[in-house]
Symmetry: C2
Subunit: 413 residues, 2 copies
Amino acid sequence: MSHESTSPLPPICQPAGFRYGAVRAGIKPSGKPDFACALAVEGTTAAAVFTSNRLIAAPVIVGREHLRQSGGLVRFLAVNAGNANCATGEPGIEVCREVCTAAAKKFGCTEQQVFPSSTGIIGVQLPGEKLISALPQIAVELGDTPARIQQFAEAIMTTDTRVKMASVTLDIGGRPVRILGVAKGAGMIAPQLVPHATMLVYLFTDAKITAHDLQIFLNRAIGPTFNCISIDGDTSTNDTVLLLASGASGVALTSSSDGSETAAFAEALQTVCASLARQIVEDGEGVGHVIELAIEGASTAEDAKRIARSIAQSPLVKTAFAGCDPNWGRILAAAGYAGAAFDPAKVSVWIGGLPVCRHGQVAADFDKNRVHRAMLERTVPVRVELGLGNATCHFLACDLTAEYVHVNAEYST
Amino acid sequence: MSHESTSPLPPICQPAGFRYGAVRAGIKPSGKPDFACALAVEGTTAAAVFTSNRLIAAPVIVGREHLRQSGGLVRFLAVNAGNANCATGEPGIEVCREVCTAAAKKFGCTEQQVFPSSTGIIGVQLPGEKLISALPQIAVELGDTPARIQQFAEAIMTTDTRVKMASVTLDIGGRPVRILGVAKGAGMIAPQLVPHATMLVYLFTDAKITAHDLQIFLNRAIGPTFNCISIDGDTSTNDTVLLLASGASGVALTSSSDGSETAAFAEALQTVCASLARQIVEDGEGVGHVIELAIEGASTAEDAKRIARSIAQSPLVKTAFAGCDPNWGRILAAAGYAGAAFDPAKVSVWIGGLPVCRHGQVAADFDKNRVHRAMLERTVPVRVELGLGNATCHFLACDLTAEYVHVNAEYST
């Protein structure tokens, strides 16, 4: 199962080679901290994946270009919340570049080694001068204490109600290697990352890994984690997952080795990604219930994912879960229009571990009241057995509540 | 524009050759009339289109089989509301057949000339004996007065708040030809009919048309009408559009003629379908605003429709309209992930006839308060000009309100 249970990870650890800071730049109307930065040691490698939306925010365009130009080297990460700098045309790209240039000058690197990110409202020009004037204060704030990481994580929040962090420490040949992840995202969440989110995820490690190998590690980690969650089915214009490796642990790793160290790092990275993906859904806008979808017995992995996504995005399924209503027919209907191989006579469904549908009909032992009680839980597992093959998909979804509507009917006003 | 404006159609006319009736069979928990029937004269031809969902209700399976076996002849239409007879397996199909057999016996036709329909909750066995025992009362009720048509239209309602009817009378060579349509549907509405809803639509005409030609007329009429609406993006298991032609007007028509009569009939049929499609969206569950989407300048008609559907089904777009929030960035984002050709730099958007976005950026003359006021209207036109080609799509959508959530979080409990 790719989405780890909510068992707590150990306390947040800090990969060596990074410093963090955040300030109030005046982008968020609330006046809360909205500019989060991280400074990495020289030689830090980077890999990233971005949204597949064809409307792409300026920082995604610039960030991708910088990674290519720098050969996958990042020294400075500059993230603002409150404004997505998307649908802002050439002026938006210019502003983004100006912020990068100013940061490069301030922190002694090339502008191609600055990685920009933005999240917030679409279609409003980003006041870049506010970010630029905040850079001196950022320089003062930078540090590597847990408090600094906490500030970074808070400043990137928009409609999030809590910070999202996860970390793992590995022992590789007697030496510690650390992975830390920080994420934000509560709405417009249905990531379809390429090579496969406004989900923003920053992953930091002190392993020593080339940019090329880092990208391979990252590509493997995102498929079963960030690409298997949906809050509202809206794929954002700004989704970004950035993985930075400082090398400061002195432990070198490659993605191609068959060794246990490579496997251990890959597993640890996926654990951090899975924890962050779950935290994002747990904190989804208006979420009352988290639905742990397990699609089994599909013909192909692609079909399993298509059915999972169709169920996860069905307003009728989502509202049934909001009402703790064991209306399993809606689950079947959403599976039926997913465009995947589906045989109603072979499908069986369990909600909260209890049978509701067997071979396309109501389960003989369906106990509506018992299932209703199981659905009162915050987390509800749903298992759909298709009976067609061996492919599976584990997907995290959530209900659709009146609170979601309230949050999103009043966003920009 | 395929979706006609709400200008009132003339009073409901009655095609000759049909009688209608409805009774309380005890299927709806409310005790309201729930069994609607129509009896057609001998020789009445039929054409139908059904849902593309792979979970198909028993009456869809049986109805399709009957049309094939009878060579497109229908004498009796039997529709129950309150139970979809879907995900009910072989027993569900058996019950459906039993009702058809009993109706055939009662009304003097073959069971293949009986067309069954069901709408309501999925996964609960249909108590066929209640329908069978109601047939004698149906026989008493059948009539061709406006009151009978009204009763038919009321009995097929589920979460609908009002009846949906439309009709047109054509003058063909001095003789009147009538088309009457009756529909239901307020949720699980995102029809994807094959050859292209639980939308149920019954169209009656007294033109004389072969079953083969009738199907051609029907296929042409549904594309720009029923297949261009969405309430919640959930494609139902029971969607059915049935067109019956009694021939009682004595006016024979063919689909292949180049004559003005064929064109006039086709246009009238589409007018009736467009009116019913709009009535369905107007009465959608919890709908506060109807969104008239016009996608223009697309590369292909398929792309235009894909972008229309993506915008129509975006929870963030829908909640923005619920809040009368001119958050046009959400419209662009939904267009961007539609999987169609899309160039952000070329796209312009108008809401309520007012410019909001030009060439991918906020329009210079964007007046947020003015657009907000335009969005207070019940019906809000949205025009998206893609700047890529000449293909267009007109699509009717609606907002997503807290009321929608309330309606659907309490459906089966």
